[in-house]
């Protein structure tokens, strides 16, 4: 039988050293008696020298982090339980992940109790100012009664948080002193700490932030158990707040509506005038499309995305619909597909700022999947409904050439569903005879495997070269511009 006494400060490191030595000599858990701090060492067992051994002990990260919590538990059996588990782990390291093993389950529960206690100490400890307000480092003090022996592991939290002030935390077990460095002193009974005027402001805040119309005392007590109340300056208000709550809520419900103060009408009128002024200045086309309710796509989208580009552009590029990024930014072709379009245009020597870029459908259609939005193709009705806006844009810009990117744009412009790959690179006509050049949508290139992407992009660029050629003075389009 070996008897081991651990110090009150530095308990964990001391336990680890002793445990390592015991494991080296393969001492069985039942042959060790552990004591700590002020507990008296076992009367009948003189502290003999530890046996020597040369086995190496191993412990997983999961065990160490659990042990470093459970060791601060007030249960006197904590050391022997930890050593017993560590001993068992030497022959089966996987034991730690068996959450149903009673030894692991018990120590996990103990470590959880300690970490909850630590958390509650960071939450419910209240400092009072004890020194001169104008000193370079202000001084504060607090009294707290933790359930477990957590002063040592919690001290760094407060040191990190209150780095620019001196503070002392007194508890029955141990006191923590901080003046830039942490030091510990023995525990003591509650010292007198003078009142602090700021506590009154805090109580005012606590009283006012409470909503008397919703009383949920059980929810409060499960998170802030009564054992902490005696050291909380605000907790003494709770009985009185609860007593008044029902009457306060009732009086709000019973009160008859009052007349608005005289200034209200004046303020509202001025605000409405400002807002009206603001909407008058906005572009008529943009404001009306934002109010579009022709189909239900607006409900989920952020905004309608209208085309961008000069109103006298010769080329008008029509895509399918705004994507995730376009919907947020309110601009067409600014996401990944937009970057490919830019590459293609640059490759073909077309200046994007001279092109009008828009979409066949103006709102983003998607399916919400957790935190992702999954693109969905617009159906025929939605395309037809949005055609009205596209026609308005075509009328405003009157381009010499329309470029349809993908099947949706082609369907919208020509009114019929074509096999896209059959008519790619050819010239179609809108019902009123405007020329439409057909190519793929850049997002099609994005969906291809990496190996095929470069070729697809160069094909796309070739198509855009044809677009540029169609607008040269010697092309057939230049001979009969616009409507054929």
């Amino acid at each position: 039988m070996y008897s081991i006494h651990l110090p009150e400060i530095g308990t964990f490191d001391a336990w680890r050293d002793k445990a390592r030595a015991l494991l080296a000599a393969a001492v069985a858990p039942e042959d060790v008696l552990w004591t700590c701090g002020r507990d008296s060492p076992d009367l009948f067992q003189a502290a003999g020298p530890l046996p020597q051994g040369d086995r190496t002990a191993t412990a997983s990260k999961a065990f160490i982090s659990m042990a470093n919590l459970a060791i601060w538990h007030r249960d006197p059996e904590r050391f022997s339980r930890l050593y017993a588990l560590l001993f068992a782990l030497q022959s089966d390291q996987r034991l730690m992940s068996d959450k149903a093993d009673p030894r692991v389950a018990k120590l996990t529960a103990m470590s959880k109790e300690v970490s909850r206690d630590k958390h509650k100490m960071t939450a419910f400890l209240r400092f009072r100012e004890v020194g001169d307000r104008n000193a370079p480092r202000r001084s504060f003090a607090a009294w707290f009664e933790p359930t477990h022996l957590i002063c040592e592991p919690i001290a760094p939290f407060f040191a990190k948080r209150f780095g620019d002030m001196d503070w002392k935390i007194f508890t029955p077990d141990l006191s923590i002193h901080f003046n830039g460095n942490i030091s510990f002193a023995p525990g003591q009974p509650k010292p007198p700490i003078a009142d602090d005027a700021t506590e009154e402001l805090w109580r005012t805040y606590y009283r006012s932030i409470f909503n008397p119309a919703r009383v949920k005392t059980r929810a409060m007590q499960s998170e802030m158990p009564k054992k902490y109340w005696k050291n909380l300056p605000e907790a003494q208000l709770i009985p009185e707040m609860l007593a008044e709550a029902q009457a306060r809520a009732q009086s709000m419900a019973d009160a008859a509506p009052t007349l608005a103060p005289a200034r209200a009408a004046r303020v509202s009128e001025r605000l409405r005038a400002q807002q009206a002024q603001h909407s008058e200045n906005a572009d008529q086309f943009t404001t009306s499309i934002q109010g579009c309710r022709r189909c239900s796509l607006w409900k989920n989208a952020t905004q309608a995305v209208v085309g961008t580009g000069p109103l006298d552009a010769e080329i008008m590029i029509v895509g399918e619909q705004p994507g995730d990024h376009e919907d947020l930014a309110g601009q067409p072709f600014v996401g990944p597909a937009g970057q490919l379009l830019d590459q293609g245009l640059a490759g073909a020597g077309i200046d994007r700022s001279r092109v009008y870029v828009t979409n066949a459908v103006k709102h983003f259609k998607f399916r919400a999947n957790g935190r992702q939005r999954i693109h969905q193709s617009p159906n025929r009705t939605e395309i037809e409904n949005c055609k009205w806006w596209l026609d308005l844009e075509i009328e405003r810009v009157a381009p010499k050439l329309l470029v349809a990117l993908g099947a949706t744009a082609l369907e919208s412009l020509t009114g019929t569903r074509h096999d896209l790959l059959n008519c790619r690179g050819s010239l179609e006509r809108t019902p009123d005879g405007r020329p439409v050049f057909v190519t793929v949508h850049p997002s099609y290139i994005l969906r291809l495997p990496n190996s095929e992407r470069a070729a697809a992009l160069s094909n796309f660029t070739d198509d855009l070269h044809k677009v540029a050629a169609l607008l040269q003075p010697d092309s057939p389009l230049a001979a009969k511009p616009g409507i054929a």
């Binding site: 068996d98 149903a100 939450a123 419910f124 990190k160 780095g163 919703r214 809520a249 989920n300």
Partner: protein, 411 residues
């Protein structure tokens, strides 16, 4: 006005702020003041420093800069047509309260909101000034949550995100129709665009520059929003659809649901009918199912009778009761997606089940040790020494979970 004490102002301006449900202080960028040159730290997980008797946590100093407001939103205590007492903090007062409360370990930081005075831009600029001064002059390293005003200049919102850990913009009500009816000066389109801007600004600052340097983080704790429940006629399904859209579109960290609560000097337009508090609770449970349990809105909606969640049992149990053909599930074989569907199994329990299954075939007692709520789970699962037999399909299964019927009072 000039004679109002700080205590009085604090009473008015925190009373006016309490209808915002959010008080979270989690997810901020980790930092501390161990160097002794500032005050405060953010550990990543929030701390609730006190709980009010309404069951809500008090983590932040939640105040309005002023409760003067030029808007006239029917559900709001601070609307221009209300007769509540008005007050206004100076920026120095907000800073003083934040720092003094922080030093006494009352709070994790500041949640600053405001009524709109003069113009949205002026108000937003004042709030940004407070956050900037706290960070730069007072080296405050605690948590700051700023409520942004959707109509404010995007440049101000960008600046706000550099000083604040979290930004939030309230959508207020679940449908556009309701916003137009009850908050006539607010524009749902503008609110959506503002949330979109915040997401874009945050994402733009995640990319490293050519030299490999990271730009300053923008609102590291993300953005959140709040919806008032029960003021308009929207059903729970509508509300959840709306949140699912918000989560996917703007990558919100949280959508808060706030049961419409009686306010002093209520508007005649909106009668003070308080929805049951448990409705708010059920919505939060459903919200969790959407975010962590792989449910989608249609599945949750399919288990409701009139589009509203069952108040007597939680939404996961309600779904399981309506889909009994999928149960019982074998805890020793089922995959993660299915295990998450068992009532009484949380995400942590499921993780433990998956880990421990490698060692042993699970028994009933093992599950108890791993933290499962077996009262809810036992009709829906079988283990090595447990099978529910006919229990899964008994007609009165719901009655076992729902609170017992109460006789109405005769008087």
């Amino acid at each position: 006005m000039a004679t109002m004490t700080l205590d009085k102002k604090l009473a008015i301006l925190s009373d006016a702020a309490k209808y915002d449900a959010s008080c979270a202080s989690s997810g901020g960028q980790k930092r501390d003041s161990r160097d002794g040159k500032g005050i405060g730290s953010v550990t990543g997980s929030g701390i609730c420093h006190a709980y009010a008797p309404d069951g809500r946590c008090i983590s932040l100093l939640k105040i309005l800069m002023t409760n003067f407001c030029i808007y006239d939103c029917a559900y709001c205590v601070n609307r221009v047509s209300s007769n509540v007492q008005r007050a206004r903090f100076t920026p120095e007062e907000v800073i003083h309260l934040t720092l003094e409360f922080y030093r006494r370990n009352y709070i994790e930081g500041l949640f600053l909101s405001s009524g709109i005075i003069r113009s949205p831009d002026d108000t937003m600029a004042d709030m940004v000034r407070i956050a900037k001064s706290l960070r730069q002059e007072h080296r405050f390293r605690g948590y700051i949550h700023l409520k942004t005003i959707p109509d404010a200049d995007p440049k101000l919102i960008e600046e706000a995100g550099l000083f604040a850990d979290r930004l939030s913009i309230n959508v207020e009500l679940p449908t556009d129709r309701a916003v137009k009816d009850y908050a006539p000066e607010k524009s749902p389109d503008q609110i959506r665009r503002a949330m979109a801007d915040v997401r874009l600004l945050k994402e733009a600052r995640q990319d490293k520059s050519f030299t490999g340097k990271r730009p300053a983080k923008f609102a590291p704790a993300g953005q959140s929003t709040q919806m008032i429940v029960g003021a308009d006629g929207a059903t729970d399904t509508t509300i959840l659809q709306s949140s699912s859209r918000l989560y996917s579109s703007y990558k919100l960290r949280r959508v808060y649901y706030s049961a419409f609560s009686p306010i002093p000097d209520a508007s005649a337009v909106l009668p003070l009918i308080q929805p049951p508090l448990v409705r708010e609770h059920r919505l939060y449970q459903a919200d969790w199912l959407l975010r962590f349990y792989g449910f989608d809105v249609d599945e949750i909606a399919s288990a409701t009778s009139d589009g509203n969640l069952d108040l007597a049992v939680d939404p996961k149990l309600a779904w399981a009761l309506a889909n009994r053909h999928l149960f019982p599930i074998d805890v020793n074989r089922a995959d993660r997606e299915l295990l998450l569907r068992v009532p009484g199994f949380g995400t942590k329990t499921v993780d433990r089940v998956l880990k421990t299954r490698r060692h042993r075939t699970l028994r009933y007692d093992d599950l108890r040790r791993m933290g499962a709520n077996l009262r809810s789970a036992k009709p829906f699962m079988h283990a090595l020494d447990w099978t529910p037999r006919g229990l899964t399909d008994t007609a009165d299964l719901r009655a076992r979970f729902a609170p017992p019927p109460e006789q109405l009072s005769l008087f």
